[in-house]
């Protein structure tokens, strides 16, 4: 093997410059520095890692542990061009396996390997958030390395992908995200294939809410409005946003932090990407109002590393907002001052879990923390912190301007306001749909998304962490309470549709692979259970079930659900358990064999 140039003697001048820029931040700068160093050198060599540890005051073993945790960080040589092909369910339906195979052939590598000349590496990627426009492929390329995420990739596109070219406006790889629905509250400026700039946002009333909050309302007034409309968190847990804001505002401690969770990584979910790529100013306004409400002096945006375009556009929008006086010292002449920092994730689904995200900002492995204490009292750097999902914050300007009553009208009594649905898979128009809370699944699929292509077999609601609905459940109303009563979950709003030509056992295997790859390994039920579940699902998919395997799947699933430390493990078996419930015959020892006896939950 030819040793890549970087391996010999890394030129450390740019690294020293980098460390000088970040030295004051200490350990918290570890992830940004590792990402930037990797962009310079291709991967993190031992001398580079040691220099970073010394420069930031981080024990070397911990630097190592952090590099090892994040999938987008490498401490061994990788190709100068790294191609990552999403093979999660929605992209799989569009031929991801063929793209992956063709990519390996193109590069002349085994999956996960590097070509002999050090040019190419090809990897399997977890969901890249372009489920509406698959097959999605992420490419890092050049020095310093640039990251690009392609949409609509087919095996014949690999010349462009490997050269990292052609992803320009109007090209076949550009994502014109289809954005529709029966409402247009937070998405009017999304799906245009371009970023809405501050002036355009202001032209349709943008930043009026921030003006109103800062000039006419106290922080307590803002929280009262959010409380009055019962805004539920849109990230998946549906936790009332006002409770977080109220508790963080009341908690003793200074400084306080406001964190925007843009680590969207749930397979089937792409709403936060479309919001940030299309209309970042709206999210910034929501976050600024939130920071004002809780008394935060700093806002962190944590955007997943697989969303390079969202990160680029967020930076551009923040620069415009800063120049216009919307953040910094004395915002709009008020006493409110706030700083904003954008952080990139580095390949870890678990960092969407709020406490794991905080650990990641602190420069650590993304292990979820034991709760309580909760972030509202003991959050980032141990200080009071409110952390909200992107879509949640997108609603805030509307609520402040139009009032809680107008917002409540757009939903049901318990599930208030509009909701974004991410529809992908076997439908005529995959896309993002903004709807009233309370429309039925049938309305979304048949009227908004143009209908199912082929005959409907199943819908996976809530992403990998969700559960399956069957055609008989199409008239269920999409609200938190109706879905709960039907034994379903809305989660992040992912709706993945499978027609009768699809093999659900293959889909389950992909979900199993996703969770085994993304488990952080902290608590035993998830660390061991996601691996055991994957092994069992491999037997399910390849029709090699052993006697007792269904019982094993159930015991593993129930144990993960009951005993795991965080939401990842608690939902890692949700889809599998619902599939066993709906289609026991899929789990027969041989195709067409006897349906296994099912154990009852206790």
């Amino acid at each position: 093997m030819q040793i890549p140039l970087e391996d010999a003697a890394p030129e450390t001048t740019p690294l020293r410059q980098l460390l000088a820029n970040y030295a004051a931040s200490g350990r918290s700068a570890l992830l940004p520095v590792l990402l930037e160093a990797q962009a310079l050198y291709g991967y993190i060599t031992e001398p580079v890692a040691a220099e970073i540890g010394r420069g930031l005051g981080v024990p070397l073993a911990d630097v190592h542990g952090v590099i090892e945790f994040y999938a987008l960080l490498y401490r061994r040589p990788v190709g100068r061009t790294v191609v990552r092909v999403c093979t999660d369910p929605s992209c799989a339906l569009r031929g991801a396996d063929a793209v992956l195979e063709a990519a390996c052939r193109y590069a002349g590598v085994e999956l996960g390997g590097m070509s002999a000349d050090g040019e190419y590496s090809v990897e399997r990627s977890p969901c890249l958030g372009q489920c509406n426009a698959g097959v999605s492929v992420n490419v890092t390329h050049g020095r310093p390395a640039q990251s690009i995420t392609y949409a609509h990739v087919a095996p014949d596109a690999l010349d462009d992908v490997f050269a990292a070219r052609g992803r320009t406006t109007g090209s076949r790889y550009w994502t014109y995200d289809y954005v529709g629905g029966d409402l247009c509250i937070v998405t009017p400026l999304c799906g245009r294939g371009q970023r809405t700039n501050l002036v355009e946002y202001q032209a349709v009333g943008g930043m009026q809410a921030l003006h109103k909050a800062l000039t006419e309302m106290t922080p307590a007034d803002v929280i009262a409005e959010i409380k009055a409309c019962t805004l539920l968190g849109r990230g998946g847990a549906a936790f009332p946003a006002w409770l977080k804001w109220d508790a963080a505002a009341a908690a003793p401690g200074w400084p306080k932090y406001f964190v925007v969770n843009a680590d969207e990584s749930e397979p089937g979910t792409f709403k936060d990407r479309i919001l940030l790529e299309g209309d970042p100013c709206r999210i910034i306004e929501g976050a600024l109002i939130g920071a004002y409400a809780i008394g935060a002096t700093k806002i962190y945006f944590y955007v997943r590393g697989e969303y390079p375009l969202a990160i680029e556009r967020l930076h551009a929008a923040l620069a415009e907002c800063r120049a216009a006086g919307y953040w910094g010292e004395n915002v709009l002449g008020s006493a409110f001052s706030v700083e904003v920092e954008v952080r990139s994730g580095a390949g870890a689904y678990i960092c969407g879990e709020e406490t794991a995200l905080l650990e990641s900002i602190e420069g650590k492995r993304g292990f979820p923390r034991v709760k309580p204490p909760f972030p509202v009292t003991n959050g980032l750097f141990g200080k009071p912190t409110a952390i909200n999902n992107v879509e949640t914050l997108a609603k805030v300007p509307y609520i402040v301007v139009h009032g809680p009553a107008a917002f409540r009208e757009l939903g049901t009594e318990s599930s208030t306001g509009p909701k974004l649905m991410c529809v992908s898979g076997d439908v005529v128009r995959p896309g993002l749909y903004e709807v009233h809370f309370g429309v039925t699944l049938r309305t979304v699929l048949e009227q908004l998304a143009g209908g199912v292509t082929g005959d409907l077999q199943a819908v996976l609601l809530g992403g990998a962490a969700g559960s399956f609905a069957v055609p008989a459940q199409l008239d269920v109303k999409l609200t938190i309470e109706d879905l709960r009563a039907a034994g379903l979950t809305l989660g992040s709003g992912a709706i993945m549709v499978f027609n009768t030509t699809r093999d659900l056992r293959d889909i389950l295997l992909r979900l199993g692979r996703f969770f085994a790859h993304e488990s952080c390994g902290k608590c035993y039920p998830c660390q061991l259970g996601t691996q055991r579940q994957l092994e069992l699902l491999e037997r399910v998919a390849h029709a090699g079930l052993l006697g007792g395997d269904v019982e094993r799947l159930q015991d593993v699933g129930w144990t993960m659900t009951d005993a795991s430390l965080c939401g990842l493990g608690q939902t890692a078996a949700s889809a599998v358990l619902s599939a066993i419930h709906h289609w026991p015959a899929l789990f027969a020892a041989a195709p067409g064999g006897a349906t296994p006896d099912l154990k009852k939950d206790v």
């Binding site: 031992e46 024990p59 401490r75 061991l528 009951d562």
Partner: protein
């Protein structure tokens, strides 16, 4: 003066505010099994073997970290609890060499956990690391209780020689870029060996004796090693 009153398995128990459910149960003579928990280490709720049912809680609660609260009704052995404990032990036995972890073997017997419940399961079997004169690291026996990492860091020694490789099932305890221990920040305090519950970390001489070396041979071996180092 005890401030918290709760019931555990139907028995009234009183504890000081701030006590965990594990402490409360122990004070009442009720045994709750644990693996990762160690009195001298920060409890992290990793192994989840100590999970109990708390009335009103949706999920099982880890007794080692869950705080006792007034009026709580706790059940330490229910069908749900036993299923979780049994399955965790079975999944662990399928992954790791527990042959030198008698306490866990006893727990397996107590919960009728079958060590061969998961046929075809991937095992973690990295090669034994014999890279220093003081102790060996046999991570095929490592159950990732984190005790060694914790005592090496803020729980005791502030040496920071240890961290993790990989994540999820592929996690393993490791050093900076896989360095041998003498090249790491390790000060050979031995505390990691002391808290290891499965003999994954073991004094090197003990291991050499088990390998069939006689004390004389070990003396020879270590003497030549000492000489080499002096040179």
């Amino acid at each position: 003066m005890p401030a918290i009153h709760l019931t555990i398995d139907g028995a009234a128990v009183s504890v000081e505010a701030g006590a965990t459910l594990l402490q409360a149960a122990t004070s009442a003579g009720i045994a709750i099994p644990t693996i990762c928990y160690h009195e001298a280490c920060t409890a992290n709720g990793l192994c989840r073997l100590c999970v109990v049912e708390v009335k009103g809680a949706r999920l099982l609660q880890p007794a080692c970290i869950a705080a006792a609260a007034d009026g709580m009704e706790v059940t330490t052995r229910s069908a749900r609890v036993e299923r979780a404990r049994r399955t965790i032990l079975e999944m662990l036995a399928a992954s790791v060499d527990l042959s030198q972890a008698p306490a866990i073997q006893l727990q397996m017997a107590g919960y009728a956990a079958q060590p061969d419940r998961f046929p075809g399961a991937e095992e973690r079997r990295p090669p034994l690391i014999d890279d220093n004169p003081m102790y060996i690291r046999d991570y095929a026996k490592c159950i990732l209780c984190w005790r060694c990492v914790q005592v090496c860091a803020e729980d005791a020694q502030y040496t920071f020689a240890l961290s993790f490789d990989g994540r999820g099932f592929e996690s393993q305890i490791g050093t900076f870029f896989d360095k041998a221990m003498p090249e790491s920040t390790c000060v050979f305090c031995g505390q990691c060996v002391g808290v290891c519950p499965t003999n994954a970390l073991k004094p090197r001489r003990e291991w050499l004796l088990e390998e069939g070396k006689t004390p004389d041979e070990i003396m020879q071996l270590t003497r030549s090693e000492r000489r080499r180092r002096r040179r």
